[in-house]
Every structure is written in C-alpha cells, then in structure tokens.
C-alpha cells in the first residue's frame, strides 16, 4: 500500500559508533521508539502528547508498545492550544514530548511555538525553564501536495530561543533525541519519514550526543558538503556512487550551529555546497552560506553554493514531486559542476 512505500528508501547503513560499542543493528524507527521509551522510564516527568500520539499506529511505529502508555496523551485537532498545554506542563515541572505527524500542522501552533515557547525563558530571565521537545515528521509523501510536504527547519531556527535538530541515522536519532529531552531548552526535533526503515548499530543503553556539535560523516579534500537528515544519506550515496573526494559534514543542529566544524572543513577544502531539503529563500542553506562567506571567505577557492527545493510549493503529481526533491545523482552533478569550475 502506498503509504508504507515511504519506508523503502534503502541506503548504505550509517555507522557512527566506536568499534568498542554494542553493535546491535536496529531501524531508525526502533531507535526512536527505544529512545522515547527509555526517556519515559528514566524520568517520570517525561510524557508524550499530540494528535494521534496514542493511536494504534503509534506515530509510524515509533511509539508502539511503550512501557508507560498512561503517559501518552492523544489530543483533538487543536494544535495551537495543545502546544500551550505542553508548555504549561513544562513550566509546571514536566518534560513533555509533543508530537506532530506532519510539520505542516506546526504552523497552526506558531503562536505558541514562536511567541511563547521560544521566548518564555528569556522573558522570565531564566526563572523558569522550558524543557519541551517537539517531534515532527517530514518528508515528501504520496502526492500529498503543498500542504503536507514542508520541512521548515530553517524557519524554526530563525527564532532565538528554539534549538533545532535533524537526525540522519538510527544512532544519531537515539542520541540526539535523548539529548533533546535532557536539555532545558525547547528543541524542535525533525525526523524525515524516509529514514524510518534505515538501519544502523545502536547501543542499548541510553546515551546522548552533544547539543550544538556536528560531525564529520566522511572526510574529504575537494569540497565541504553540509547536509542534514535525509540529505546526509543522499550525499553519502552520491559520494560513494560517484567516488567523490568531498568532506561530508552533518551539523545535526540547525541551531545552535556548529560553525567551527564547518569553517575548519572549508579551510581545508576551499569549497562549500550546502544541501537543504527545504525552501531556499532566507533558509538554513542561506544561513550556512552567509556564515561561511562572512567568516571563512579567505579559504574559498570557488563561490559557496546551495542546493534546496526550488522556490515554489510542492506540487502533487508524482512526476513533479520527484523533480522537486534533490537526490544523490543531482547532488553529485552539482559537486562535479563546482569542481569543474562551472
């Protein structure tokens, strides 16, 4: 059935684990499930809330059979006030995980997200903390059209007070999710649906990955490729399939951004391409390019470049949907273009 078809993007298994670690291999979805379950087991203040959070589909399987179903609260179609409910609970000592099956629904809650959640800690001079994680699933669907296909990571990163993270593999998903739950700041946690069936080694025990620190996914000399989420997978495929000597950086966090990691890489390679599966104008790719142009222009051998969605909404027809999304081949082509000086 078509709705399950999104899962089948098979890809090279990413493996960011040190050799010593437990090498159990599980899916991204199961890594998320484990992280959520452990977070809830570990801390009774952690609870989950959202439309369909408690239904039989378990948020695409990521919340099935949790140990504490009594701390999973389904809501009506009331995204705005429900986000305020999560904020109120956080202020009163809980650590809510809010869930949106599609990021597009978050636009209904922008008052709460951008006016309240992002600013509350600053307005109160830190006298209260706002430990909320807002999980949201993104990704091109099955001809879903413009209202069910956005990414919006850059938009959230625009608001001071919000942290934004986009994991790219199971190991990352678990470690970043637990870091997000642990953090005393609001974190927007964006999961690409096409990563859900991807597998990788994930330790059983709880662990966190550092907030605001990216990673070098693979080293390279000719160009720095910055990518997050599904774009990391596509970039890796581009690199291996087309045997490119580029350094792939996954900043993980759109905010706070690991500027040093990117600048150090550009210092070495002299070239930058940012892949962002999101709208181009005033977006995350623009931020990374501007930052490098401001702070690292002396390293650049060729102009910075960005690769994003085209500057239009997502059309519905499958043919156009495909044209709309970047992919490994298109990424490789862009890299070749830069290396060939065009």
């Amino acid at each position: 059935m078509p709705w399950s078809r999104f899962d089948q993007t098979s890809t090279a298994t990413l493996d960011a684990l040190p050799a010593s670690a437990n090498r159990r291999v599980i899916s991204f979805k199961d890594a998320m499930r484990e992280a959520i379950d452990q977070a809830m087991n570990n801390d009774p203040r952690v609870f989950a809330i959202g439309l369909d959070a408690d239904d039989k589909f378990g948020v695409f399987g990521s919340m099935l059979n949790l140990s504490h179903p009594e701390r999973v609260i389904g809501t009506p179609v009331s995204e705005n006030a429900m986000t305020g409910v999560a904020l109120g609970a956080a202020l009163n000592g809980m650590r809510p995980i809010y869930i949106h099956l599609r990021v597009d629904f978050m636009l209904l809650a922008m008052d709460q997200i951008a006016n309240y959640i992002a600013k509350w800690r600053y307005m109160t001079r830190g006298k209260v903390k706002v430990p909320i994680v807002i999980r949201t699933v993104i990704g091109r669907g099955w001809g879903c059209g413009a209202q069910h296909s956005q990414t919006l990571g850059g938009m959230f990163a625009h608001f001071p007070g919000l942290k934004v993270v986009m994991p790219s593999d199971p190991y990352e998903a678990k470690g970043l999710f637990l870091a997000a739950v642990k953090d005393d700041w609001p974190v927007i946690f964006i999961e690409h649906r096409w990563l859900y069936k991807n597998t990788g080694a994930v330790p059983e025990e709880m662990y966190v990955l550092p907030v605001g620190k990216g990673r070098v996914v693979c080293p390279g000399k000719q160009l720095t490729l910055v990518a997050t989420s599904l774009a990391v997978v596509d970039s890796l495929n581009a690199i291996s399939k087309h045997e490119l000597d580029v350094e792939l950086i996954d900043p993980r966090w759109l905010k706070p951004l690991d500027e040093d990691l990117i600048l150090n890489s550009v210092r070495k390679t002299g070239r930058l391409l940012v892949i962002d599966y999101d709208f181009p104008a005033c977006g995350f790719a623009a931020e990374v390019c501007a930052m490098v142009a401001e702070k690292g222009s002396q390293f650049l051998k060729s102009p910075v470049q960005r690769m994003t969605f085209p500057d239009c909404p997502m059309p519905a027809s499958g043919v156009l949907e495909k044209a709309y999304y970047p992919n490994a081949d298109k990424i490789a082509e862009r890299i070749r273009g830069i290396l060939n000086g065009s």
């Binding site: 009331s78 413009a146 519905a316 043919v319 156009l320």
Partner: protein
C-alpha cells in the same frame, strides 16, 4: 431531525439518485485500482456519506460556492466537477482539474463554484465565511457553504468562524458532515460538547440524517431559505457514517463504528422510498448505474491517455 420523504417527486428522486450513484461508483472504481499505484495521491473516500453532499449540493447553482477539506470526491462530484477531470487529477495528469498540481486533496473548479480545497483540518471553515462576506458586501445572489467534518469542530478556527459569522450576520451555511470519527478517534474522545448545541448559541441549526438524502435535502433547503430571508448564517448538521478507513481503500473496522450496509446506505434508502411510491422502476435504476459505469470507463480512458506534467512546469505560475 428533518426527514419525511412524503413529498419526494420522481424528478427529484432520480436527480438525487444519479448523484449518489455517481459518487459511490466513482469511489468503488478507485478501490481495486488504488493498490496498483496508478494514483499517486492519498484518497479519502466518501462511500456511505454520499447523502450529505448530494442533499446539500442539489440546492446550489454553479455560481454558489462550496469550500471543503481533505475528503473531496463526494462534495466535488456533487457540486458538478467533471469525472474526467477528477480522475485525471488523481492520476496526476495535466488534464486534471488542478493540472496535477493539487492531487486528491486540492481540487479546484471555478466554473462550478469550487475555488480550491485544503488538506489541513479546520482552517477551510473560515474560507466559506469569507466568501459569504464577499457576497454580502457585493450584494450578490450567491450562496457560500463551509463544509467540514466533526474533527474540524475541535479546531479553534471553527469557534472563531462561528462567532464572526454570527456577529457580522454573514450569510454563510456551515455544513458539518459528522461521521463520528476524526481519523480513528471516536467523537466522544475528540469533542466533549454537542456540536449542534454550541452552534445554536450563534445561529439557527438544522439537524439531518446524513444517511438519508431526503433528510439532508429538506434540511439544507430550509437552512438556505433561512439564510436568504434573514441574511444570517445557518448551521446544518448531518449525522452520517463512514464505511471506509479514514484514508485509502480498505473497509473500516473500528469497533466504535459499526456499519449496517443495508440500513445505513443512502442509495438503498432512496431506492426503497422511490420504489415504494412507484417513482422508478428497477430498469430505470439499472440504467442509471450502467450510464455511470460507461462514464467511468470513459473517465479512466481519459485519465490514462492524458499526459503527465513535465519538469519544466515546476516553477511556472509561481
């Protein structure tokens, strides 16, 4: 609830029946095709709920506007969208009503009073209010209808829309197609209050049996008359039943949603009433079915033969 088919005429009955069948047969055509992936778009079928769009839209002229949501096929066909263009849209072809840019959830047909639909629940309610405000400002002879499900009632946009329409005497008709479900959530789990009681604090309310097209038709007629005469909004609530899963082509299996495909069927109900009054023969009814089947065959041909869009269209009309 409004009901009573005593005044059902042959002409009306046949007209309503044809539309009910159009929707039913259209949706049933999709069922076996969908798993073959010829339609790359989510579908929210209208089977079992046909009485609501048909009963309402029979009163509407092409210039009257209908704003609906994700569950589009029923309202769109009832309002007059050409089957070919709906089918082609589902097939993602350029001959679709939105030239393949909309998909199942975003249908458009200005000539028949459909100015677009939204996949996001709730917000669309306000669009009908705005359209009716326009009609009022311009003193037009035009009805505008906001169409939504029981789930949409949960949204703040519902509340805000009701209040504004009442405050400003906006001549809009709210139609709540209440199938008792918001996806897999039963109504009692998603909306605490009785929708019609709340709406009653803002405007006149009509209640209809949404599995009975004549009940809907009568209530809608009364509500529209009230709007025309008073210049005020009206609320039409239709309790109906969803036969299929929220999305896709499988039969629903929720315990809280038992369906009796005999007693709950708007088509069977109407056929029975017509035959009881000798308003139509079996043969006539069969001819309607066959006629629609032929139309559907043609629509499928049309869709399949139509071209896919090309990449260069992506950034046009932006």
């Amino acid at each position: 609830m409004v009901g009573d088919t005593a005044n059902l005429t042959r002409e009306l009955g046949l007209r309503l029946l044809r539309k009910l069948r159009e929707i039913r047969q259209f949706e049933e055509r999709i069922i076996p095709l969908y798993p073959t992936d010829v339609m790359v778009t989510p579908v929210h079928l209208h089977i079992g709920q046909e009485a609501v769009p048909v009963g309402v839209c029979d009163h509407l002229r092409p210039k009257d506007l209908l704003f609906f949501g994700h569950r589009t096929h029923g309202p769109a066909l009832a309002k007059g969208l050409d089957m070919n263009r709906l089918m082609a849209e589902l097939f993602g072809r350029t001959t679709g009503c939105a030239n393949s840019f909309g998909g199942s959830m975003h249908l458009v047909d200005p000539d028949n009073g459909m100015l677009g639909s939204s996949a996001l629940v709730g917000g669309g309610i306000a669009l009908g209010v705005g359209a009716a405000l326009a009609a009022k400002l311009e003193k037009r002879d035009q009805f505008c209808v906001s169409w939504f499900g029981d789930g949409a009632v949960d949204s703040g946009a519902f509340w805000e829309s009701l209040n504004f329409a009442a405050l400003k005497a906006v001549p809009v008709m709210f139609v709540c197609e209440d199938n008792g479900l918001s996806n897999v959530m039963e109504k009692k789990d998603h909306m605490f209050a009785d929708i019609t009681e709340v709406a009653g604090h803002f405007m006149e309310v009509w209640r209809a049996d949404g599995t009975d097209v004549h009940s809907v038709w009568s209530a809608a007629g009364q509500a529209l008359r009230h709007i025309r005469e008073s210049g005020k909004p009206a609320f039409l609530w239709c309790r109906t039943k969803r036969w299929m899963k929220h999305q896709g082509v499988e039969t629903d299996d929720l315990e809280c949603n038992p369906v009796d495909r005999e007693k709950d069927c708007p088509i069977k109900k109407l056929e029975k009433a017509m035959k009881a009054r000798n308003l139509a023969s079996d043969k006539e009814l069969d001819e309607i079915t066959q006629g629609i089947e032929a139309q559907l065959n043609a629509a499928l041909e049309f869709a399949k033969k139509s071209p896919f869009p090309t990449e260069d269209l992506l950034m046009t009309e932006v």
